[in-house]
Assembly symmetry: C2
Amino acid sequence: MLECAMPARQTPRPRARRQTPEARPYHHGDLRRVLIDAALQLAAEGAEVSVREAARRAAVSPGAPFRHFPNRDALMAAVAEEAQRRFRTEIEAGLGQAPVADPLARFRAFGLAYLRWAMRNPAHFEIISTGRYFAHGSSAELTRDNAELVALTERMLAEAAEQGLLRSADLKRIQIAGRALVYGFARMNLDGHFPRWGVQEDEVERMAEGVIDLFIAGIEKPGRTP
Amino acid sequence: MLECAMPARQTPRPRARRQTPEARPYHHGDLRRVLIDAALQLAAEGAEVSVREAARRAAVSPGAPFRHFPNRDALMAAVAEEAQRRFRTEIEAGLGQAPVADPLARFRAFGLAYLRWAMRNPAHFEIISTGRYFAHGSSAELTRDNAELVALTERMLAEAAEQGLLRSADLKRIQIAGRALVYGFARMNLDGHFPRWGVQEDEVERMAEGVIDLFIAGIEKPGRTP
DNA sequence: CCATTATGTAATCATCGATTACATTTCGGA
DNA sequence: TCCGAAATGTAATCGATGATTACATAATGG
């Protein structure tokens, strides 16, 4: 994908360039890609993501990124798309380990994969979720991806209802509540609430599991798992 | 603490000041207060909160705010404290209307008041909740307030457990889940997720109520309200 | 081989948070 | 009552940032 890093470095110094001793090739390999990665890494480090800093890490002038992105928001959108792609991959891997026939087990696996990724990639999750860095609707890919995940949980719940596993028939309400629960848990972690709620760092993933189980037990028809 | 607002404004123009036709008093009445309000309003308008803009609205030089706040974060912290105060007031008013004897009804009223305020004051909620504008722990008032709210829900759940109203004895898990649910719902609204989830603007408050009821029904011992 | 296009650089601008030196006002004690 | 210290606001300035422009250089294809 990216051949990157000085391909034919042997141009014999065509003209006396600036005084820089090492004449790196004028064209960067795949600057767009490198900028996205730099920004992702910045986010992962918890630092502010600035165009200039990304350019700095790519060893390129401050104006160069604007050849690839019309503005900062466009860069952030690209970063979010990359993060979302990784998120999706993780979710699908998690779902792949759940029994196909049991919709509630799949629902649980979904939530677990969701939270596990969010716990382990807080900065990436922040970028995807918050719509603060750019208008969410401005990325068709992000919108589509998200719609698919929504549809996925919707299907799981519909199946569960068909199999008579649920206490309530108001699927939309259950879906929103489930999303709110998982999203809220992820954001509590992100926003640093857990210390205040007496949840230790190393308890968080276990608590995530417990919270999901509590929710599922709450929507499940009673007497199924005694 | 602060004696406030232009006490003896009647100084009869002591010296020919600058050419400004209206010689406003050199000292602002209570700039600190005005800055906080300006910043709150900025947040309410969804605009970026900048020190300069707050100063501009207070009709004061860009450097003036730094006489009252060591840096931007300190201003934001003061804004958050003000918002939190209003939030608390709303919560307590909501709780005042719930029957004292029924802890789950109080739990419900708490959640409703929480969400209603968050829905109607999204920018203020953002400032209180997100810890992005300043280190949360840097404000003793905020920390204390929050601890009290946590303790409050804890007590409600403990009472509910004593009265045998709950299915599960794991109170901490219930508490975290409840918080995650409510917080997540508020943030979904804030982060603009609801359109993507098919929840219309005018449905949101009704949906908030529904989600809370679903949660309570889930933790309640079955057969209580048939 | 050369012209068109893509890509990076340099210089520049406005805005922002922050600091400093200085001006003005207020207020309490001699 | 006066005066000096403390509080409060202004003006000027700094470095960083997002963004734009004119220009330089490389890659590509007819």
